[in-house]
Symmetry: C2
Subunit: 129 residues, 2 copies
Amino acid sequence: MTKAREAALEILRNADEPQTAAAVFQQAGNSCDLATVYRTLHYLEKHGYAESFVLYCNEHGTERYYTALSSGNSGSSAHRHWFHCEGCHRFIEIGNCTVNSLAKEFEIEHNLSVSRHILYFIGRCSDCR
Amino acid sequence: MTKAREAALEILRNADEPQTAAAVFQQAGNSCDLATVYRTLHYLEKHGYAESFVLYCNEHGTERYYTALSSGNSGSSAHRHWFHCEGCHRFIEIGNCTVNSLAKEFEIEHNLSVSRHILYFIGRCSDCR
DNA sequence: CCTTCTTTGCAAATGACTTGCATTTTCAGC
DNA sequence: GCTGAAAATGCAAGTCATTTGCAAAGAAGG
């Protein structure tokens, strides 16, 4: 684990919301190149330290957001889902998600395999309504 | 409704899967500019003729996919969700989706408003397993 | 140390999508 | 049917997140 990777992972672990590459770059104090941040995030995801999803927001456009997974090296912790506020751009975790069982049903019904799923909500939080 | 918009809407209505701007452009036989296709799809979505979502696929990257909404004054069709096969890149509709009720619960629980949600599955269909 | 493999920085490239602007279409009102 | 203002289109150039080529810097093992 190199210094840049350690730093990025620490940033993701300390964050309570999904982070974009640009956000990680900024929090790292520009201590490394943005291209390195992208490569680092790919590395972290590939090796099971983080997961990501692509989210579209009116104001920020389409960006990939990363979250740390609790246990690294492919020992996966639970996949999470988020609500994104279009006002303040904060994220709130959607707990208690039933998508997994929905995916399982769908797999059986269609005799196929679902390797991942994406779910998120967009709206306005209680402060921004 | 101009010719280009009529054509794009017809393409979406005849499609049984979500279509990208590039796909609509191609099916339109390059009869208009790609920029016009983008503008047209924005128009259709803004005016309730279509809806869209952004999906990431390993092979095709991040793209926006459009589906027609049945825009008769009688009934606008419900928002739909899709499974995307990473092998053949076909889409299969996920029927019977419980996300709406999940969103409603979440709204009440957090005193916020969810204006839209994104859900899709990625995997391999029965032909591509 | 020295060699080799990996990672990084920098700059340039990519690809989906957007936009400025001049030209064409559309369409309501004659 | 004509006409003119408003809207739509084509083309080219721009934007923006993300990726990649390549040479230099760093790590790891002998």
